[in-house]
């Protein structure tokens, strides 16, 4: 039953009504996956931060519901991967723990510095001078205010770092800043804080040649981060929500990376897949098509004669084609791959010489006249030309089955009333 829910487009009736961007006073639980909840406000946040957030607002109700359903489905998948990543103890891998620690430091740093900046206020008298000077020009006033704040922030930051250096009794061993010293060489130390040579090389892209200047710059950057993060942590800032969000984002991605390495250990897998799916490398011939559509056969006959007498199909299509899309483009249908058109039209195009008008083709849409302007030959792409697409295809195939497994392993409960064609699943699964 779950596979139906996750593989089909779902339109959830409750999702139709929720207005976007208005914080729901009482967020509704939509789905629970084991003990993880997906609530309506989380879904709205996902909509608002999606690439289609702006267009979403002007979409029709049904389209909005379909997109919400699709996003919810992705959120469920992401939670499943998160649970499985934890089950596989990916969160205890040294690489992840290091990433998490770096994230923690950066959040603490940001928090402290934002607070520092928020304490800076433009004094009343300076502000009134600015207002007098930029009366009516809010942009200029904003710029003047932020220029003032930036100046003060810069000075305040330098002073803060100096103060913290004294507070934690930081000692910098400048004489040891030599490229190529032992990895464990201590370059900076103080109360509960230290930086060794390896720390500087680990996290940044290294230049072609490591110079003392480069090392010094890295050391000061790292020292600033650690000092401020430590001061921030000592203030008792609670960043668990942020680190939890990081885990939720990062662990599914790590699991996918791990699976990719497992499913595609070498290019041999991709080459084998390519051998059984040669269509990935085939590039069909493309033809630049012009088309005129009429409502009656008489009209089509009349226009066909005029075109054969030398008139342009495109001029006529621009004026008389009953296909609004074609009419707005003067009958220019662009480059179309062989085999992509309606069967009757494909048949008429076969054997048609360039710049010749076809016989009249009857379809449910009307009576068509087509012509081929120019052609681009088809061909075969090399393995390396389509390697990325093959990776995607192999991953998709494996992922579908993998997710089916996860869906039965973990308990998913949908609290929203679903489309009537889809049965509400009861609690199943063994639990994680």
């Amino acid at each position: 039953m779950f596979k139906n829910l996750l593989s089909r487009g779902i339109i959830l009736s409750t999702l139709l009504a929720t207005p976007l961007l208005h914080a729901n006073a009482d967020p509704q639980e939509l789905v629970t996956i084991e003990d993880l909840k997906i609530t309506s406000d989380q879904l709205e946040m996902a909509v608002a931060s999606s690439p289609f957030a702006t267009q979403f607002v002007s979409m029709d109700v049904d389209d909005q519901a379909a997109l919400r359903g699709d996003l919810l489905r992705r959120m469920v998948i992401s939670r499943l991967l998160y649970l499985e990543a934890q089950q596989n103890k990916l969160d205890q891998s040294p690489a992840f723990m290091d990433e998490l620690e770096e994230f923690r430091l950066s959040v603490l740093y940001r928090h402290y510095m934002d607070k520092l900046r928020s304490h800076i206020q433009v004094p009343e008298e300076v502000l009134s001078q600015m207002k007098a000077q930029f009366r009516g020009n809010t942009d200029a006033l904003t710029a003047a205010k932020s220029a003032y704040t930036s100046d003060r922030y810069r000075d305040l930051k330098i002073l803060t770092i100096k103060t913290l250096r004294d507070k934690y009794q930081i000692k910098i061993n400048k004489d040891r800043l030599v490229p190529g010293v032992a990895q464990e060489t201590v370059l900076m130390e103080g109360d509960g804080i230290s930086i060794v040579y390896a720390d500087l090389l680990k996290r940044t892209a290294q230049p072609a040649k490591i110079t003392p200047d480069w090392l010094r710059e890295q050391l000061y950057k790292r020292a600033e981060l650690l000092l401020i993060a430590k001061a921030s942590a000592e203030e008792g800032v609670d960043i668990t929500a942020r680190t939890e969000a990081f885990r939720r984002e990062r662990l599914p991605a790590l699991l996918i990376e791990q699976k990719q390495a497992e499913w595609i250990p070498s290019d041999k897998v991709l080459k084998d897949y390519f051998a059984t799916h040669p269509e990935y490398g085939m590039l069909a011939e493309r033809r630049h098509i012009g088309q005129l559509v009429t409502a009656t056969r008489e009209d089509a006959e009349k226009f066909r004669k005029r075109i054969q007498a030398g008139e342009s199909l495109f001029n006529i299509a621009g004026q008389y084609s009953i296909d609004p899309h074609g009419r707005s483009r003067n009958g220019d249908m662009g480059w179309v791959q062989v085999g992509r058109g309606m069967p009757q039209i494909e048949q008429a195009l076969t054997g048609l010489a360039d710049n010749e008008v076809s016989n009249i083709i009857e379809t449910p849409l009307g009576f068509h006249l087509v012509t081929i302007l120019e052609r681009r030959p088809g061909g075969n792409k090399s393995f390396y030309g389509i390697r990325d697409r093959l990776v995607q295809a192999v991953m998709n195939e494996n992922m579908t089955n993998y997710l089916k497994g996860l869906e039965t392993h973990y308990q998913i409960v949908w609290h929203v009333v679903t489309d009537q064609n889809i049965k509400q699943p009861t609690a199943t699964g063994s639990g994680g």
């Binding site: 002007s58 029709d60 004094p123 009516g136 220029a147 000592e234």
Partner: protein, 198 residues
């Protein structure tokens, strides 16, 4: 406990220190250059960075009337709201900054309508899209529809030939155009230029 309080003290000290250093601060010449002086045709200065309106007036009711269909399906004349403080907001459904400020506008309308504020949206877009956006954002004020293909004259008359959205014209109770804002209108600007009129 004591270690937790120390940083706060350090903070306060630093602020005091810097404060004295900047006591004599003057706004820099850099910012001065970006300031522009503007005057309307009759010499009256609206509090705005925009150029003068083309008509020789600063009174909204002397401009060509705005008579358009609203999202409610009825024909509306902007002059129907004469006597209130009107915020005429030009917007389009595809415009992200418009969507951000509309969320604020909804709360302004709710708070200040009883005191005489009337926000009017003027949508430069197709009706279905405006309908959807208005529904999705729960817009609580009238929205008039102006076909973007036929809105040149209207935009020109209201000082926006460049077709900037969002674009907001504030009309005082006496019809005077008190303020014109290009781009997203933030709450600070609203409080400074619109609230005193209400």
């Amino acid at each position: 406990m004591t270690t937790q309080h120390k940083p706060v003290v350090v903070f306060a000290l630093l602020l005091a220190l810097i404060g004295t250093a900047y006591a004599g601060y003057q706004t820099s010449g850099k910012a001065e250059k970006s300031g522009t002086s503007t005057t309307t045709a009759n010499g009256e200065k609206p509090h705005t960075a925009t150029m003068a309106l083309p008509a020789k007036t600063n009174n909204a009711w002397d401009l060509p009337p705005i008579i358009l269909q609203g999202l409610d399906g009825k024909q509306h004349n902007l002059a129907d709201w004469k006597g209130q403080v009107i915020m005429l907001n030009f917007w389009a459904s595809w415009c992200a900054p418009c969507q951000y400020e509309i969320k604020d506008f909804i709360s302004y309308q709710e708070k200040y309508a009883p005191k005489g504020l009337q926000i009017i949206g003027l949508g430069l877009d197709e009706e279905p899209k405006l309908q959807n956006a208005s529904r999705t954002l729960s817009v609580n004020y009238p929205v008039l529809i102006s076909d973007p293909a036929n809105s040149d004259a209207l935009l020109e008359a209201w000082g926006n030939p460049q077709r900037i959205v969002p674009y907001t014209v504030v009309i005082a109770r006496d019809g005077r155009i008190a303020y014109i804002h290009r781009g997203q209108l933030d709450p600070e600007t609203f409080n400074e230029f619109v609230v005193p009129l209400i």
